[in-house]
Amino acid sequence: MNEYLGLALAGAGIIYNLFACLGLVRLPDLYTRLQSSTKAVTMGTCLILIGIAVYAGSGPTIARTLLVMVFVLLTAPTAAHAIARGAHSSGIRVERVTAEGLIGRTIESELWDRIRVGDREEKDRFQLFLGVCPIYDLEGSLTARGLFARIAPELGELTGAVPGEIVEKLLEREAEATTALAPGVAIPHIQVAGEGIFAMMAVRVRGGVRFSEETPDVRAVFVLAGSTDQWHFHLRSLAGIAGIVREEDFSEQWERAADGDDLRRLLLRRVEKRPAKNGDR
């Protein structure tokens, strides 16, 4: 019985030794070779010696094997430490191959996390704006200028700009290229002077606004006004609104809504519904 136990221990030690030698051959630089081989070989040799002590079972052999074992346990780590120290002070450097692979992946995933968090923050902010922005519900039909004149005072209050200027800027922007999107939605947006300023308004015009010849019947208008440093959030909001109105039954529900509060609920419901589509990857 003792014989088999001893041989099993010795066999385990020999497997340790073999893997240590494989590590010595396969690993890329001195320090990895040192760490794989010295520890495993110390362990393996000690297992062999214990196995032989168990196998022999007689006094003198056990004493000698234990002596060798204690000696190996004391010397092998010391020698490995001395070699590592000598190699380090003689200028051997750590091979970068393995470390680079690890670092590269970490930084990349970290960047992705950051982008995702930033995205989520801006999305939360957009949702916040939808929750508080003024929503007008206008009867009858209007021209673009008429509509801008109606919203300019409120927008001027929000951004600190003069209402007359806001109307001019909105009309200028409209002349460059129409902001009306088919079907029945327009997103006029301008930049205002200042820093950290952003304002959003939503307007429903029951009779429709005549923005241009091609889009005579705009019923949903979202107005954005922001300073230059808010440009990124400005674009995010444009994308957010585009995402809201893109859905099929939007214009139908927009027309059916009872009042301003109902319209806001409609918008917020759609923002909450969208999370998996754009922001989160």
Partner: protein, 88 residues
């Protein structure tokens, strides 16, 4: 039993040759020093197994002497790697 010991000795000899491969390839002096150090420990295990194969106890004395000399050799080489002389 006998065949198990023979296989074990063969595996240790294979490990020894892997150490010799690293000793020959280098590429730096510390690599060769590690290879010699490990080869010494492998041979300690080899000698210990020879005790079982032959029934002679003195192979353990060989193992002990080998471990001692291997240790001293490794320390000397490590000191040399550090750029010092042996008596420093």
């Amino acid at each position: 039993m006998e065949i198990f010991i023979l296989i074990s000795l063969a595996v240790l000899i294979l490990g020894g040759f892997l150490c010799l491969y690293r000793l020959a390839r280098g590429p730096t002096a510390p690599d060769r020093t590690v290879a010699i150090d490990i080869l010494g420990l492998i041979l300690v295990g080899f000698c210990a197994l020879l005790t079982v194969r032959t029934g002679e106890d003195f192979y353990l004395a060989v193992a002990l002497a080998w471990a001692l000399l291997s240790f001293i050799g490794s320390l000397a080489l490590a000191k040399k790697l550090e750029g010092k002389e042996f008596d420093e």
